[in-house]
């Protein structure tokens, strides 16, 4: 978790936050593939960016996705109390990718995310689903809490539209751009200081990654099928789900730095 705050010391990471935010907002606004709920959500190709940027730029992508979504709200004319949950949801949309890559135990490819093998694509798709679910449940919970759109309606909608764009566009985009970004020296393990990315004494990267993988989809299923919108249980479920996600972020760690180190040694 330290890296989320330590990154603000580095000029390149701050600029990456700004660039990620600007790209996300610039592609989010003009390109809409299909409208799912008119005026509320649609399938947008930009939803691939938080996941692939998360894997490549780490914490800069988490902050960048959050700010980019906020800018989208400002320029799209939809700024409101729901934007706070949009900020948080998109923060996790960008965060889950770098926390999970390389830490999924038997589900991990053990390789860099250059999408040169089927195992990498499988790992990527699992991460895209987990990141989409985290974003979906946080926004849907917040918007339900505000009494704007029921969780039952918005949760699956965001989940589907995020997952489709991220899972379909992610592998080819990573295949084409990851080697170039690596050559530019802009992968977060190359930009950030080693001590800011080191494990702490209480780090449990695999437990945290598997926990994040399970919490959001479970929250989504319970929120849709078990608890009714605006109920006390729905609110409590969100509180517990968010708390668990934060705990897993705190005890989690990033897998890419170790993979890059391994590749350099070889």
């Amino acid at each position: 978790m330290r890296e989320l705050f330590a990154m603000w010391r580095d000029t390149r990471m701050i600029l990456l936050v700004a660039v990620v935010a600007a790209i996300y907002a610039a592609v989010l606004l003009p390109f809409k593939l299909f409208t799912v709920i008119p005026g509320i959500t649609s399938i947008r190709p930009a939803n691939v960016f938080p996941v692939i940027f998360g894997i490549m730029f780490g914490p800069a992508a988490a902050w960048g996705a959050a700010i980019g979504n906020l800018i989208g709200d400002v320029f799209g004319g939809t700024l409101g109390p729901g934007s706070a949950f949009g900020f948080l949801g998109n923060f996790f949309f960008g965060l889950v990718g770098y926390k999970l890559w390389g830490n999924l135990g038997p589900l991990s490819s053990g390789e860099e995310p250059n999408m040169r093998s089927v195992k990498q694509v499988v790992e990527y798709v699992i991460i895209a689903v987990a990141a989409s679910a985290a974003c979906a449940v946080i926004i849907a919970w917040g918007v339900d809490l505000l009494g704007l759109v029921p969780f039952t309606v918005l949760g699956p909608t965001i989940m589907i539209n995020n997952t489709l764009a991220a899972a379909v566009l992610g592998p080819p985009l990573l295949y084409l751009t990851y080697p170039r970004i690596k050559d530019m020296g802009l992968l977060y393990p190359d930009v950030m200081r080693e001590e800011d990315l080191e494990e702490t004494s209480f780090s449990q990267p695999v437990v945290a990654a598997l926990g994040m993988l399970v919490v959001s989809p479970t929250w989504l299923v319970l929120g849709i099928y078990v608890f009714s919108p605006q109920s006390t249980m729905q609110m409590a479920l969100g509180g517990v789900g968010l708390l668990l996600l934060v705990v897993f972020v705190v005890i989690g760690n990033q897998g890419l730095p170790a993979q890059l180190k391994g590749a350099n040694i070889r």
């Binding site: 799209g76 004319g77 729901g82 530019m184």
Partner: protein, 262 residues
């Protein structure tokens, strides 16, 4: 391109001249009123106030840009909320397919108005607040400088990238690239030739921009001073007072007097 680079409308109104913090307080007050009450007769008040002020400040063109969203959230709310609201009161609409009670209708209408009120109040804020004021407002609220710098830089890069996105799209379409052809999956894949140039162009400049900033002494750790830092004037304090009054007043009316529920 559907979105221009800013919704800010130049003006010299009292609202325009308020400090960003005071505008945030006023807007938060309006948000609170719309959020606290459920009954449409109460939620309509912030909606009408925000809409009237928006039009008075020259924001009609901004409203026209989001009118589709406002209408859509209204219609979707009216359709969806009755499905999740306990039936109560007399039946107001009876068809072979669905029955709508008074309770269901009022809750749905209240929720739709709340959503519309949020959108129009947010629009009012961005209509009267420039990007620079937005960042200054964040800073004056105590948000760390590095974060404000990233937001400010993103806001400045955004129009450039929006333009680049449009240019790349036109260039690819001129080469015969058709975004709308094929199955839904193919249509998603069609975006790959558009996304890569936009994204690589922006990323390529990060290293040189970072060096340029550091060469000019950019340091997020050092104590910073600001040119033109705005302290709160008398009118700003009045706005903060009105915002606080709306917040506290609506909570008291709702939870102490028990008014505004369905």
């Amino acid at each position: 391109m559907s979105a221009a680079s800013s919704l800010y409308v130049h003006g010299d109104s009292v609202f325009h001249r308020l400090a960003p913090r005071a505008k945030i307080a006023l807007v938060a007050g309006l948000f609170a009123v719309a959020l606290v009450f459920d009954h449409p007769a109460f939620v309509v008040v912030p909606l009408v106030v925000a809409f009237g002020t928006l039009v008075a400040l020259g924001g009609w063109s901004n409203f026209r840009r989001v009118r589709f969203i406002v209408v859509a959230v209204f219609v979707v709310g009216l359709v969806v909320w009755p499905l999740f609201t306990p039936a109560g009161g007399p039946i107001w609409l009876s068809t072979p397919v669905v029955e709508l009670t008074r309770n269901e209708f009022l809750v749905a209408l209240g929720r739709s108005m709340r959503f519309a009120s949020f959108i129009i109040t947010g629009l009012l804020f961005v209509t009267a607040t420039s990007n620079e004021e937005l960042v200054a407002g964040l800073r004056s609220l105590g948000v760390p400088f590095a974060f404000c710098f990233a937001v400010g830089t993103a806001l400045r890069l955004f129009p450039t990238l929006l333009g680049a996105t449009g240019t790349v799209r036109q260039a690819q379409e001129a080469r015969g690239h058709d975004l709308r052809s094929g199955s839904p999956l193919q249509r998603i894949r069609n975006y790959i030739p558009l996304l890569i140039p936009v994204f690589m162009t922006a990323i390529r400049n990060v290293q040189t921009q970072a060096m340029a900033l550091e060469a000019r002494g950019f340091d997020t750790q050092a104590e910073r001073t600001f040119y033109g830092r705005q302290s709160l004037a008398g009118s700003d304090w009045v706005a903060v007072g009105v915002g606080s009054l709306m917040l506290i007043g609506s909570v008291l009316v709702r939870y102490v007097l028990g008014m505004g529920t369905v």
